[in-house]
Amino acid sequence: MPENPIPAQALISEPDRQAISEPLASSLERRSFGLVIGMLGMVAAILLLAPTVIVVITSFTSGYSLKFPPPGYSARWYEALWSDSPELVDAFLLSAELAALATALSVVLSVAAALALARRKEGWARGLEALFLSPLMLPTLAIGLSLLMLFNLAEAGLSFTTLVIGHVAIISPYIVRTTSANLLQMNASLLESAHSLGASAVYVFRTVTLPLISRGILAGAFIGFMASFDNVAVSLFLSDARSQVLPIRMWQMIESNLDVRAAAVSGVLITVTLIMMIVMERVAGISKHLR
């Protein structure tokens, strides 16, 4: 036990030896540490969860304001969302379509790039990969603004296409990262033995590489999809008047009149995220790829 370190006492300085000879002080020391770390950790855990819970409870209010606790409970705002908010339903569908398209394109481009680069040690390969990951660190609003300037210069009007391009630039890094990490964990001798047994490159990719990295690709695609669905900074600059994505609509709703429907939309998004998250944790072990 750490509390009884007899053989090491010769190495310990005088004040510490006093601390050891006083079991009460040492147990107090241990308990104060456990208490402080435990309390702060619990506060952090509660802080992580509380806002989500509060939003979900608020979304079931029967009142017209975002009062918490609500004066009464009902599902009226969810009904309002479903029955007379076509603009929000449209925005939701547009965001889902945009995120799906951007994710599909990003997966093709990023998985190919990761396959080419992940296992190379050369400086230029590392540099290229760092370039592909750079949008993660750059302020996304600056990326949006720079792309707007490019499209203005090229006299290409803003459209759904420009929006997709912006989103691919933002979410590709996630897929490059998870796929590369997965490729690095892969045992190279599996590939070599497949090659030496005469399998063609395409056959090896289909039967060995792809099954081994599918979890990394799936995790990256999921994270990328959510990042695209949530993006405001790039959409703000690149969407045309007709393409109103959901996060921007919500941003406007919250900024202008604090519509209670924003709480109902949040409730829907939280539920969908939670379900997808649990499924993806089972299928792809998503939390491992986020670290």
Partner: protein, 286 residues
């Protein structure tokens, strides 16, 4: 030899990285150069070259105040995230395995939940009829609702909560990579839990702390949604200022200069912290 040309170690031809490479050159690299180029025009019509946009920004107290408060916000959020994130990561590593799954879900779920939703949660919490004001009124501490939303403290706290997972995840990885024996040895030699924490655990988890700190800093200085919704119209940060100058004022050169300055500041912090981390890791292994 034939096999050399197809990179025998990876089995994947280099050509596979070309499509994404072209995309990045066209839609990330060139636009960034264009951004830098546009920032070097003196007038809104973009006819004369010069550094006047930067001079204009850096010689004006109002503009410098915005830059300062943005960087200060990033620093405050990083410190708050460290204070809360370290104990949480430590707790995660210590608790029994069957509790780790649910706790990980708790940490990751907010990260994947829309940041607009998470920001909206803080608007509800800090509002005049929000839970904080209700609780304080019920306890008799206040007579009338206090203004919590649209204050500098509110932005920092809300962002710290929103970015907390970005700090906790690298820290968990770093703590898991720490050799447990070092801590046990320190305790067995009588260093006590606090001293072991400061002298062993914290230095050994420095790579995770720096990585998490950078992620938190970079995302909080450019967190447009939270800054505008929780900060309100009276506090302006760099991202909104850039948006306003570009879209509302149509002053692209000035907006580009704002973007470049924010970019340079973020990169400077990243480079400095990375250099610090390299020196630090040398110290730990020595």
């Amino acid at each position: 030899m034939k096999t050399q040309s197809v990179a025998p170690r990876s089995g994947s031809p280099l050509a596979l990285s070309v499509p994404l490479g072209i995309f990045f050159v066209g839609f990330v690299f060139v636009p960034m150069l264009l951004l830098a180029y546009v920032s070097l025009f003196e007038d809104m019509e973009m006819t004369r070259h010069g550094f006047s946009q930067y001079v204009k920004f850096l010689s004006d107290g109002f503009n410098l105040g915005i830059l300062g408060s943005t960087l200060l916000l990033g620093l405050k959020v990083s410190i708050l995230c460290t204070l809360l994130g370290f104990p949480l990561a430590y707790l995660y590593v210590q608790i029994p395995g069957r509790w780790q799954g649910p706790l990980m879900l708790l940490i990751v779920l907010p990260l994947l939940t829309s940041s607009v939703v998470r920001t909206f949660a803080w608007v509800v919490i800090l509002g005049r009829q929000g839970i904080v004001n209700t609780a304080m009124a019920n306890l008799g501490w206040i007579q009338e609702p206090v203004k919590l939303l649209y204050t500098p403290g509110a932005v920092a706290v809300a962002l710290a909560q929103i970015e907390l997972p970005l700090m906790v995840l690298p820290l968990i990885t770093a703590l898991m990579n720490c050799d447990r024996n070092l801590r046990d040895a320190s305790l067995a030699l009588g260093a006590g839990h606090w001293r072991t924490f400061w002298k062993i655990t914290v230095p050994l988890s420095m790579p995770g702390l720096l990585a998490g700190g950078l992620l938190v800093f970079a995302s909080s200085v450019s967190a447009f949604v939270t800054q505008t919704l929780v900060g309100g119209g009276q506090q302006i940060f760099m991202p909104y200022y850039m948006y306003q100058q570009a879209i509302q004022a149509n002053n692209y050169p000035f907006a580009a200069a704002i973007a470049m300055l924010l970019l340079v500041c973020v990169l400077a912090v990243v480079v400095t912290v990375n250099a610090l981390g390299r020196r630090n890791s040398g110290f730990v292994h020595a």
